[in-house]
Structures are given as structure tokens and as C-alpha cells.
Symmetry: C2
Subunit: 106 residues, 2 copies
């Protein structure tokens, strides 16, 4: 199992819609997350501006599983709703969610 | 079980020492974390500047357990090393690590 943490910015004017979506996530999206070997996935919000995600990956090919998720039509529809709520913190715009480095585990 | 996420800033000039400490944490500190009902505790670093912690609390009185941890002499010695590596992101200086709000879990 590998732990992941990622961050992205929330557009303040989209806060209410983003929270509404995530309070009632679409079942097919949740199923696909599980099918793609992600467990214990949480998203947290800091100061209405920064999102922080934590999850555990239990598969053996993360890139392949992420490609499978990205190819799912219902997930694409979900992202069409959530992506406009977010903006990347990456100044070079190369990534969307930005990965953090694990420095401690107990 | 309740999930927590917290953030604090890392002083860039203390990065190397902070990482060294957390790569070889003191066993008594790890034991105290467990004794205080914290599980699956990870710390992640973003851009050498922002720390994010994730953990799961399995006890029934978080405040009491945090007081127990704060009263532990070895934990106090650990914090005497780690606190100077950090600075609070709270502009009002009321908290040290700042809690995030959970907005999604799957």
C-alpha cells in the first residue's frame, strides 16, 4: 500500500457547489475509485481556498489505474462539474492536483 | 474513528533537520502517539514549505488525549526540536497546527 497526498486550489466562488457535489457524490464515481484500487480517500478544505486529499493505493500499477479512471464516462462527467471549481497550484501548469512528499509515518 | 488533517509551515532553512528528525523519530514519541489513540499518522511536505498531517483518532476524548501527549516529557523534548522548524499559518497566532475541514470521504 502506498499513501498519497495531493493539493489543489478551490475557486472561492465555487465553494458551495463543490461542497454540495462532495456531500452527495455520484455512486458510479465512488465505485470507480474503489475499482481503481484507491481506499480511504478523504478531501479536506483549508480556509475555503486550499483542498488537500489523502488516499491509499492498494494496486500494483498506479498509472494504469489512473488511466482507467480517466477513461470512465461517468468520472469524466463528474470532473466536468468539479474541474471548473478548482485551479492548479502548479505555477508551470504541468499538473492539476499536485503531489506532496511523504516525510513521516507512524 | 475521526479523521484529522492539519497544516503548518516549515521554515525552509530548517528543512534538512526536520526531515532528518522525522526519518528517525524517537521511539518514545511514537509510542505516546499510539497511546493517545492516534493511528495511521502521516506527514507530507509541499514545495519544501507547507506540511500536511493526516491521522485517525480512535479514542473518545481527543482533548484529554492531546493533553496527555503534551504532558509527556519525551514528547516535550521532541517538540523542542521540531517547533523551531515550523511556523504557524494562522495569521492570528491562536493555533499552531491548523485544522482542515473534511468535505469528502470514500
Amino acid at each position: 500500500m502506498k499513501r498519497y497526498a495531493q493539493t489543489i486550489l478551490l475557486r472561492p466562488e465555487k465553494r458551495a457547489y463543490y461542497l454540495e457535489l462532495h456531500a452527495n457524490p455520484w455512486p458510479a464515481v465512488i465505485d470507480k475509485i474503489y475499482e481503481c484500487n484507491i481506499r480511504n480517500y478523504s478531501i479536506f478544505l483549508l480556509n475555503d481556498r486550499q483542498l488537500f486529499a489523502y488516499f491509499e493505493y492498494v494496486g500494483s500499477d498506479f498509472e494504469a489505474d489512473m488511466q482507467k479512471m480517466a477513461a470512465d464516462a461517468e468520472t469524466q462527467r463528474w470532473w466536468a462539474e468539479t474541474d471548473p471549481c478548482q485551479e492548479s497550484p502548479d505555477p508551470e501548469g504541468k499538473s492539476w492536483w499536485v503531489n506532496l512528499e511523504e516525510v513521516f509515518h507512524a
